[in-house]
């Protein structure tokens, strides 16, 4: 279980996150929904340890991970724009986390991870030769391959066109649910958030305004902005 408690993040003396609290139960998929610039990506980066918290705490299974460096947190983060390694093949990208963990049988696990996203046999391809949709799936496979405790997806479908997005929303959710992973999905798109998650967390100007199921939020919005944003 992930617990974010009263988190403040300050970057270049500008407050980016203020007093953010969020809990994600095991096996739950939470969508963080909000307009661009509201601090969604920074929240993921703080959980991954890529930015430091000014105050507040982040706990995993009850233990604070504030002092655990990024590479030892065992979380997965799929970057907006994917951040695939340009000098490696698809297989090397997907196997990277396994290699870092010193696991055995990497080739088989890579092939398995590729099969989750429907890219069997793509292992030896160069990442530059892939289409946008294929890159998205490679990034997802790379994130899932080491079987991280927590998966974070940052605008996972943001760069794709509409038709592809509708197809991949369902696909991505299925992949997450089959693996029974605990996940946070960040998006600015209401439909996407609803389709991919069990629960919504609405974010505005660096704070989480309200959390709950879509029906709960519709029935009892915290303020006018929430009502308008999810309508």
């Amino acid at each position: 279980m992930l617990q974010v408690e009263d988190l403040d993040v300050v970057i270049d003396s500008k407050p980016i996150l203020e007093n953010v609290s969020l809990t994600v139960a095991d096996g739950e998929i939470v969508a963080v929904l909000g307009p661009s610039g509201s601090g969604k990506s920074t929240l993921l980066r703080a959980i991954a340890g890529l930015v430091e918290a000014a105050t507040g705490d982040i706990r995993w299974d009850g233990r604070s991970i504030a002092n655990v460096p990024t590479h030892r947190r065992g979380f997965g983060l799929m970057f907006q724009g994917y951040a695939l390694f340009p000098h490696m093949t698809v297989g090397e990208n997907v196997g990277f986390g396994l290699k870092m963990a010193g696991r055995d049988g990497i080739a088989d696990q890579v092939e398995e991870a590729l099969s989750w996203v429907g890219l069997e046999g793509f292992g030896s391809r160069q990442v530059e030769s892939l289409s946008g949709g294929e890159q998205q799936r490679v990034a997802l496979a790379r994130t899932l391959a080491p079987r991280p405790d927590l998966v974070m997806l940052d605008e996972p479908l943001g760069a794709l066109d509409r038709n592809l997005r509708q197809k991949l929303v369902t696909e991505t959710r299925e992949v997450l649910e089959e693996r029974e992973v605990t996940a946070i999905v960040v998006t600015h798109d209401r439909e996407e958030a609803v389709a991919m998650s069990n629960r919504l967390a609405l974010m505005r100007a660096g704070t989480i305004v309200q959390t709950g199921l879509l029906d709960e939020l519709l029935a009892d919005p915290a303020d006018e902005w929430v009502a308008e944003f999810i309508a």
Binding site: A48, L50, H71, R73, G76, L77, F85, M100
Partner: protein
């Protein structure tokens, strides 16, 4: 409390120690020596500094402008069009740049152009055309054509597009090329020593004369200070400019080139052939004149004064291998430090590492003989030669690797960290493989630089450890047709060696990656 990052300390230590002992410390000794000379105010020192300083400055400025004018046609052709022989034309145009200055000087002597400002400027243009062509065309050919098309659709004429879009986008490359050409010509030594005779002296030549011929070390140190002030100013400006305009973008893999048609075809033909023919004249003269006697055979004969000239070739190769290893390892570590931190610290590190490039080889060699008697006297060892060469080459390795490292988006490294890579493994798995291709370019340049290095070597090489360039200069300094002929023959050998390495670099398709 800030944690000490030992990984960074380990990466930064070799460059800091090497640059510190072989560069910063000798420079400090020169400063002490020179400042005391300046404060004494010996008669005539000031007037001499101003005269030599002014000549150095204006000839560098004029050389830079002339180089851009001469390089413009070929730069345009290879940046915009794909034509038969394009790669070959670029490779051939690069030959003068990689030629050792001693060879260039000898070639212009073979043309019969001596002791004139015209010869100096022509030799500078000849030498530097490739810097402009390659640096500018690397960027120019990769500008996304849609940007220009967008401007056309918005009503811009072809000229408007060039002036308002292309030229503006090229500004970083133009600034880079201009500052490199300016620095090279500002610190020009071999060409001026050979072609300027006693009438024209830049700061470099004057430092050499005062230190080596007249043994006036304090005056030489004072001159070195003037030199340093000018160069640091130029470098600081360039470094700031580069940081301001640093864009992290994914370069298009291939260049966006069209096939030339109609008038463009004629233009490309004239631009390419015209440039290449002009560049070929001094070299062909050198080669043909070197065969007008038995000069090549003479290189293997034992000469009572200079020994066996061919021995210098062996010395040069051994030194080049050692210098390349040193420069590549230290350069890549330094580039890692520079790109790993943003802000003041990284800029100062960058600037310090670039300084050997501008400080001039002569000051480096001069510093060695002034300072390296502490803690033990190293001045008699032959290994000072590769150390000096590495120092000259490090900025090239740094420059050829830093842009590649900067072009790696921060997210790529972050992705590796999230996937479990420690800082060291991020460097090994991400930075090192990506940088090693550019590092190969840097290494090849280091090799070529070492082969042709003359300024520093002229201070530190002993007669027994003479390199090809110092041997050529000794032969040129002796009267007589045979000595001049042997100098030409040895120049051709050196030119052939360096050209072979450069052609190999271009063949290996590294050429397009290098941005000097």
């Amino acid at each position: 409390m800030k944690r000490v990052r030992w990984g960074w300390v380990a990466v930064a230590a070799p460059p800091v120690i090497f640059i510190g002992y072989f560069f910063v410390y000798p420079l400090a000794r020169i400063l002490v020596l020179g400042l005391s000379e300046l404060s004494i105010g010996a008669s005539g020192v000031e007037a001499r500094l101003i005269r030599v300083g002014w000549f150095t400055l204006w000839q560098a400025a004029v050389s830079t402008v002339l180089t851009f004018i001469a390089a413009a046609p070929l730069t345009w052709a290879v940046s915009s069009y794909d034509f038969k022989g394009r790669r070959l034309a670029m490779a051939l145009a690069t030959v003068p740049f990689v030629l050792p200055t001693v060879v260039v000087g000898t070639a212009f002597v073979a043309l019969g152009w001596q002791e004139s400002i015209g010869a100096i400027l022509a030799a500078h243009v000849f030498f530097n055309v490739a810097v402009v062509v390659r640096t500018v065309s690397t960027l120019w050919s990769r500008i996304d054509p849609r940007i220009q098309e967008a401007a056309r659709v918005l009503g811009a004429s072809e000229w408007d597009v060039f002036r308002r879009i292309t030229l503006r986008l090229l500004r970083p490359a133009i600034a880079a090329a201009a500052s490199i050409v300016f620095l090279f010509t500002f610190t020009s030594f071999g060409v001026i020593l050979i072609l300027g005779g006693f009438r024209f002296a830049t700061l470099e030549v004057e430092i050499y004369r005062q230190a080596v011929t007249l043994f006036d070390l304090p005056l030489a140190a004072a001159l070195a200070i003037v030199q340093l002030v000018g160069v640091s100013g130029a470098l600081y400006w360039y470094s700031r400019y580069q940081e301001r305009t640093a864009v992290s973008w994914t370069l298009e893999r291939g260049a966006n080139l069209r096939r030339p048609k109609g008038r463009a075809r004629t233009g490309v033909l004239f631009a390419t052939l015209g440039t290449l023919i002009a560049l070929a004249i001094p070299l062909s003269m050198l080669v043909s004149r070197s065969f007008t006697g038995t000069y090549y055979q003479a290189l293997f004969r034992d000469d009572p004064v200079v020994g066996v000239p061919a021995q210098a070739a062996l010395n040069s190769l051994v030194f080049a291998v050692a210098a390349t290893l040193l420069a590549t390892i230290i350069g890549i570590l330094a580039a890692t430090v520079i790109t790993g931190h943003r802000g003041e610290l990284s800029r100062w590190f960058d600037l310090t590492l670039m300084l050997p490039l501008g400080t001039s080889a002569v000051t480096i060699g001069f510093g060695f003989i002034v300072a390296l008697d502490w803690p033990i006297d190293l001045r008699a060892t032959r290994w000072l030669v590769p150390a000096a060469h590495a120092l000259v080459a490090i900025p090239f390795v740094v420059r050829s690797t830093v842009p590649t490292l900067r072009s790696v988006p921060a997210e790529t490294r972050e992705a590796a960290r999230v996937l479990g890579a420690s800082p060291f493994r991020v460097w090994r798995e991400i930075d090192l493989p990506i940088v090693s291709r550019a590092g190969m370019v840097g290494a090849a340049f280091a090799f070529v630089i070492s082969l042709g290095e003359f300024g520093a070597t002229s201070f530190v090489a002993r007669p027994a450890s003479a390199t090809i360039p110092t041997m050529i200069f000794r032969l040129l300094s002796r009267p007589g047709q045979t000595s001049f002929g042997m100098a030409m023959a040895l120049s051709v050998v050196l030119a052939g060696l360096t050209a072979a390495v450069v052609m190999a670099i271009d063949r290996a398709r590294f050429g397009e990656l290098g941005s000097f």
